[in-house]
């Protein structure tokens, strides 16, 4: 597998780990890995332990599944239980708990929930099942939003009347700002999401050094990508001049993907969004634009817009997912971790998603020493 295996080179990884330790200070470098995909890769390759104590890694809110508001999930569940409606979703969402059950639970009760690999597959479902209403759950950040936008455009081009999108899309920039503005965490660096940056361009991350004095290294997802990016952050701290480093040169350009950005701007409009564990953040989500209202599931099914405060149902049970997403708490520090809350019986979304910080810690990180 060209361009995958080479970036898992063990000798290169060892070398990079040694360099990071060699340049380490007495004080560990606190790096937030914004993206859940990074959390997953870091845990899968045992990088957390390998980099301690020189680097301390904190999870961020970049797990679209983890930050989906439970009220949104409840509405998706409601749709799936309506006669004649099929909810199509990416596999990640199936087990995420709403206030009562999950899409998986809804399916067990007779709801029509189907897992798709691509939103285009949900269009195919709509063509094959003209008597049903197909609702595609749009989750994800700037990596996925353009693919949904392209699919909406396709639906419009075909005049497909039995397909719509329930958008839960969110933007990365406002979430990152909200965390830093809250002042709960002190960060020495941010590991920037490489596939989001493939769309937005790495220049979109310059606000971090410019406005917050925090260096950002945009990183790919193979272990050597992550290590190169972290090394760049360590070097940047020594230089004392924070900046954005593009450590994913093969996938990310300064300006990003203009076609994708254009489609997003056409099909979506920026709106306030409810982030589980964080609360309402202005201008942080994507709703369907007026000209595409016909394909907006919220309008088609007359569903209310979701706005909730930071206390979701599970917080009442002691779940600290919100604090984990903000980088304030490490999963093992949550009293429910590994006891009442496990991947098989998750309380909060951080334990459900394969890339959720708690799931990653539980799966890979309980001491393998």
């Amino acid at each position: 597998m060209t361009y995958i295996q080479g970036f898992r080179n063990p000798a290169a990884a060892r070398h990079l780990i040694e360099r990071i330790h060699a340049l380490g200070d007495a004080a560990p470098m606190r790096v937030m890995e914004f993206c859940g995909g990074h959390t997953h890769a870091i845990m899968r390759y045992g990088l957390r332990e390998a980099l301690a104590p020189a680097v301390e890694l904190l999870s961020g809110p970049g797990c679209p599944v983890c930050v989906s508001a439970s009220a949104d999930i409840d509405q998706a569940i409601g749709l799936s239980l309506r006669p004649g409606v099929t909810v199509a979703t990416f596999g990640d969402m199936i087990r995420v708990p709403g206030s009562d059950t999950s899409l998986q639970g809804a399916r067990a009760q007779g709801g029509d929930v189907r897992v798709v690999y691509s939103a285009l597959d949900s269009l195919e479902l709509a063509r094959k099942l003209p008597q049903r209403q197909i609702v595609m759950l749009g989750i994800g950040f700037e990596t996925t939003a353009p693919t949904i936008a392209a699919t909406v455009a396709q639906a419009r081009a075909e005049g497909l009347g039995n397909w719509s999108v329930y958008s839960m899309h969110k933007l990365t920039d406002p979430a990152m700002r909200a965390i830093l503005d809250a002042g709960e965490v002190r960060l020495d660096g941010v590991l920037g999401p490489g596939h989001v940056a493939a769309i937005t361009g790495w220049q979109a991350w310059e606000f971090l050094p410019r406005e917050y004095g925090v260096p950002c290294a945009v990183s790919g997802f193979e272990p050597t990508d992550i290590l190169q990016a972290i090394l760049a952050l360590v070097e940047s701290r020594r230089e004392g001049a924070p900046r954005v480093i593009n450590a994913y040169g093969r996938g990310v350009t300064p300006g990003g993907n203009a076609v994708a950005q254009g489609l997003m701007a056409q099909v979506f409009r920026v709106a306030p969004a409810a982030w589980r564990g964080i609360g309402l953040i202005p201008a942080s989500g994507l709703d369907l634009a007026e000209s595409y209202a016909e394909w907006d599931a919220r309008r088609r099914f007359d569903l209310p817009d979701v706005a909730e405060g930071p206390l979701d149902a599970e917080a009442a049970l002691g779940c600290r997912c919100g604090e984990v997403l903000r980088g304030v708490t490490l999963p093992p520090e949550c009293p429910l971790f590994g006891g009442a809350c496990t991947p098989a019986h998750p309380v909060g979304p951080c334990m459900v998603s394969a890339e959720g910080a708690c799931a990653a810690h539980h799966r890979y990180g309980r001491s393998a020493a």
Partner: protein
């Protein structure tokens, strides 16, 4: 959000590309990367290409890694030669 995989474009018909990875093939959409050509590598995410890979950048990094690997092998060999010599 994050799972995007580098695959090779084998064939293009209109806005649809047939791509390949390790012998596995699929049809994906080039709507977001209309300039992709046959032979290019693209990052695909949920059935769409989102970026055309910069192969020169990739090769440069891989070359660096190959050098590191060679250097390490040399060090290992020297270490074991020394051990043998000392024995």
């Amino acid at each position: 959000m994050c799972l995007a995989v580098p695959v090779r474009v084998v064939e293009i018909e209109g806005q649809v590309a047939r791509v390949e990875l390790g012998g596995v093939l699929r049809e994906i959409s080039l709507v977001l990367t209309p300039d992709a050509q046959v032979g290019d590598y693209v990052l695909i995410h949920t059935g769409f290409a989102i970026s055309v890979l910069d192969e020169e950048e990739a090769q440069e990094t891989l070359r660096l890694f190959a050098e590191l690997e060679a250097a390490e092998a040399l060090l290992d060999k020297e270490a074991s030669d020394t051990e043998t010599a000392d024995a």
